[in-house]
């Protein structure tokens, strides 16, 4: 069977060679191959196959006695006849040997070596290839892959024993033992090297088949295409060969279909009629490089960009930032296909992104270069073998893990005592500034949910900077153990589906360690997800989870940008400047059947009046209590989504909450409610209480820190910003704070943990269950009713206040004045309600 396949391979090769160079020798070879195929087929009683081979043989024999051989069209017939035989052969396949064929065989290798396009024989030989000659038929034998695999495993065992012997001999004084163990060491290493080679196979077994593929395609497409193969004897691990087969086929088919132009186009472009595709394979720096180049029309940059914009892969603004290679690499993006129409050759939904994924899966890289009008070259870099990879072995807790060196960019050791450049915690996640760039860090013990916690306060942090797809990130681990060449052993599918491991290996001491899949780690840690994740997540939900707050950036008469919390903005309006009327000290605009007081932000924040020198005035409308206010700004810059936490200023600025320290700039956060209070001091809302609350005396502030240790406050607030801000204020005063994102969640927490909660602070307007409903629920439960309740809301008009107290809140506060809040909290802590 395997023999038959080899014969077929050679037949095709010779036939192609013959097409280019119709010499008598090659033709005789064709005849001989078909003859031996017939013989073997009958020998193993594959009658159908034998009959067909016989038929073809007779057909060939007819030409053998003619002087001028078959014509082009007759060669075409030979190809198609031969296809029938191949199909026949494939149909026999599953019954006989479903998993690949033996690697070593002994067919006479008499290929016409002098012809440039006929590649090396398609076989694996244990003997040295260069010495191989036609008459060396007996120097190789067939060995089954299973046997080789078993030998590999035993080899691994032997290496382990060797390591132990060496350790023993190092401790021993016995010179004889030492010299013996040295010998053992050398011999074992050599055997290991040789064993590894047995798995290698020349790449020709895969790429020689393309002769046929290209020929058939060219005919289908009505194009003239010549395929040249160089370096078919370059050797590659068998499993890798299998893995690159489909991606390579796809690339070659693409070149034929999209790359090479039709003969007419080529002639009018001044090129030779027939297109050329070259496949070159060679070793380079421990990797195998495969280049597939064509001299076709090349990629059209503008069309790529417009296509990418159309498909939403890049935004219109991005297009200028892309370098040339960025543009070409767009074709690897998911969901991209430039084929105008789907042909049966390519464009069947399997795009180049799949090619890239498959190549990267086996640790390879893919790169594309193109010159419009001159052709395209795709370069694949494939590791020599999957079975053995160099790796860094790191320790995390009590366990060890291997990181493939191919993914490793560098190792960084950070002294946490160094004040200037240390790992810092940004919103709960560690980050590190590496040469001015923020490097996201993944704490291995956290990702793997181990108990050990990295101590960021002092000591040394080890970071392995790794690259996955386009993103670099750092993996934080406890210690470096070793570097080693490891033999990758597959994991079962269940463990593979965890995504985080690519395999396991056995170390020299016999211990088993897991190999980290860097791409998987980044997925689990959600790095680079924003860019690559095109699925429609519930955006809002995600933002809640990620604690991301939206801000509206505005420009004022200050170099610093200012921002509003987007949730507090009611509307954005643009008024003609002449619409603004002056009424005493007030600026007013008629707005929605009422007047909208306009507040000049520049005046309040910086003490200088804005010039009304433009036709239009931009106003941000904010609702406070039941009234609307307009805050005048110079420009509206942008919106911003970030999880950067607000920092309060050491000295409280009037009208500002604090600042957002973004990596590249500092943004001042406007407190619109305080601004309104500053502009209209008489409108300040005092907290509203129930009568019994009013009688309570606030404890003096100095005692706060002593007493509050055991006080837990449940905070229900849907807006991320306020949730964080209020939590901050309360925690600074020494309270413990647990938070809920909505009323429903708050109720659940209450029911579960009511014994440990001393106070509820709740927003009014929340999704799922609002503050009023929450309070009603609590009021009607005898146990939960014991806990004091405070409402805190920006909606503090009289209707809301009344309803708040009715629904069972003990106190109703307006957002967000720290001192008022803390006073109120302390007061309420002392509220003792009699159990009903």
């Amino acid at each position: 069977m395997a023999e038959a396949e080899e014969i077929c391979d050679q037949f095709i090769k010779n036939l192609t060679a013959y097409e280019l160079d119709p010499s008598k020798e090659i033709f005789d070879e064709l005849y001989r191959l078909m003859h031996s195929l017939k013989g073997s087929a009958y020998l193993f009683s594959f009658k159908n196959l034998g009959d067909k081979a016989h038929h073809l043989e007779s057909y060939l024999e007819g030409f053998r006695h003619q002087s001028n051989g078959p014509s082009q069209s007759e060669i075409g017939k030979l190809f198609s006849d031969f296809k029938v035989i191949e199909i026949e052969l494939q149909s026999l396949h599953p019954n006989f040997k479903p998993t690949g064929r033996p690697e070593v065989h002994s067919i006479a290798q008499n290929v016409s070596q002098e012809h440039q396009s006929s590649p090396e024989p398609t076989s694996i030989n244990i003997v040295d290839k260069s010495k191989q000659s036609q008459d060396e038929t007996n120097s190789s034998i067939r060995v089954s892959v299973n046997l080789l695999d078993n030998l590999m495993t035993l080899m691994g065992e032997m290496v382990l024993v060797r390591n132990q012997v060496i350790q023993l001999s190092n401790r021993s004084e016995d010179a004889h033992l030492q010299s013996l163990s040295k010998k053992l060491n050398v011999v074992t290493s050599e055997i290991q090297n040789e064993m590894m080679k047995t798995r290698l196979q020349p790449i020709g077994t895969v790429i020689n088949k393309f002769q046929r593929v290209v020929r058939d395609l060219a005919q289908d497409l009505g194009k003239g295409i010549q395929l040249q193969i160089q370096g078919a004897d370059t050797e590659l691990d068998k499993s890798l060969l299998e893995a690159i087969k489909d991606p390579l086929t796809h690339i070659v088919r693409n070149s034929c279909d999209h790359g090479i132009e039709s003969p007419q186009d080529r002639i009018s472009a001044g090129k030779p009629r027939d297109g050329h595709i070259t496949i070159r394979a060679y070793h380079e720096g421990g990797q195998v490089v495969i280049e597939v180049g064509d001299d076709g029309k090349g990629l059209h940059k503008e069309r790529l960009i417009s296509k990418a914009i159309e498909k939403g892969i890049i935004s219109r603004g991005d297009q200028d930032k892309l370098s040339e290679s960025d543009v070409f690499n767009l074709i690897f993006a998911p969901g991209f296909s430039t084929a105008q129409q789907v042909t049966n050759v390519s464009g069947r939904g399997v795009g180049m992104d799949v090619v890239r994924t498959n190549i990267e899966k086996i640790g390879g890289t893919i790169d594309l270069q193109s010159r419009t009008g001159h052709g395209t070259t795709i370069k694949l870099k494939i590791p020599l073998t999957l079975a053995i990879i160099p790796a860094l072995i790191v320790q995390c807790g009590s366990e060890h893990f291997a990181i493939p060196q191919s993914k490793l960019e560098e190792l960084v050791r950070v002294e946490q005592t160094n004040e200037e450049n240390r790992v810092e915690i940004l919103h709960g996640s560690p980050v590190f500034k590496l040469r001015g760039q923020i490097l996201p860090l993944v704490d291995l013990s956290k990702v793997l949910k181990r108990n050990s916690n990295t101590n960021y306060d002092r000591g040394v942090i080890n970071i392995a900077v790794v690259k996955s797809e386009e993103t670099s990130f750092g993996i934080v681990f406890d210690a470096i153990q070793d570097t080693a060449d490891i033999v990758v052993k597959p994991l079962n599918r269940l463990l593979k589906s965890l995504q985080i491991y690519s395999g396991a290996t056995i170390l020299g001491d016999g211990s088993v360690i897991l190999i980290l899949d860097i791409l998987g780690v980044s997925k689990v840690a959600r790095i680079g997800m924003n860019r690559n994740d095109y699925t429609n997540h519930d955006d809002k939900e995600d933002k809640l989870l990620a604690d991301i707050q939206d801000y509206l950036l505005v420009g004022l008469a200050s170099p610093t940008k200012h921002a509003f919390i987007l949730n507090s903005v009611f509307r954005l309006e643009e008024f003609n400047t002449d619409q603004i009327e002056q009424c005493g000290n007030l600026s007013l605009v008629r707005y929605r059947d009422a007047t909208l007081p306009i507040i000049d932000l520049n005046l309040i924040l910086f003490g200088e009046k804005s010039k009304f020198d433009q036709l239009k005035t931009l106003v941000i409308v904010v609702r406070k209590k039941d009234k609307l206010y307009g805050l005048m700004v110079d420009t509206i810059v942008d919106t911003l989504s970030t999880d950067v936490e607000m920092e309060t200023q050491p000295i409280k600025q009037k009208g500002l909450f604090g600042s957002l320290n973004l990596p590249d700039e500092l943004i001042a956060l406007i407190d619109p409610f305080e601004i309104i209070n500053l502009a209209y001091p008489d409108q300040i809302q005092e907290p509203v209480n129930k009568p019994e609350v009013a009688q309570l005396q606030a404890v003096h502030r100095e005692n706060v820190f002593v007493n509050n240790e055991s006080k837990r406050i449940l905070l229900a607030e849907d807006t991320v910003f306020f949730r964080k801000a209020i939590k901050n204020v309360l925690e600074k005063a020494g309270y413990q704070v647990i938070t809920a994102n909505d009323g429903h969640q708050a109720l659940e927490i209450m029911i579960k943990e009511y014994k440990s909660i001393s106070l509820l602070v709740s927003d009014i307007e929340m999704p799922k269950m609002n503050g009023f409903q929450l309070a009603e629920h609590l009021k009607n439960n005898p146990q939960l009713n014991l806990i004091p309740r405070m409402a805190i809301s920006s909606r503090a008009d009289s209707g809301f206040l009344k309803k708040g107290l009715e629904s069972g809140f003990d106190m109703y506060l307006e957002k967000l004045n720290q001192d008022v809040l803390l006073n109120a909290v302390e007061k309420l802590m002392h509220l003792k309600r009699e159990a009903a």
């Binding site: 079962n492 599918r493 269940l494 593979k496 985080i500 491991y501 056995i506 211990s511």
Partner: protein
Amino acid sequence: MSAVVTNKATHIVITFYVGDYCFAIEVNKVQEVTGISEVYPVPLASAFVLGLINLRGQIATALSLREFFKHKDNVVNIHPMSVVCRIDGGLISMVVDRVGDVIEVQESLFEKTPETIELEIQKYIKGIYKTNNGFLSLLDIEVIAKELSPHGDSSSVIAS
């Protein structure tokens, strides 16, 4: 030992214990029975995956049958045994409390698993043999194999 005479109506099974229950598995499905040296845990894996073990240079995935059959009694077994099977080309080591004998069971004593048994447990059992010494639950290794190869394979997403 003399050769075991088999006829169509009997099967040879290897027995083992998890908790107080006796389980069986067809002997031709078992590669070997060994003691366990060291188990290397796999973080994030399902609870029934104890970890990986080095079986003479090959890596086997160790599964806790205790976990499969919900024995939560936290008994620390100092001498667990491993029943090694080859599933889908990979090695699976089923960690059990104790290994019993290899016995011949009569086909006629086989019965379906009673339906009252909890579904989560029932699905791992092919059926019950009634022997003189009590019940023998015949393990369905194929179902366990299925448990090990979740559909969707690599594309399945981890909820983190």
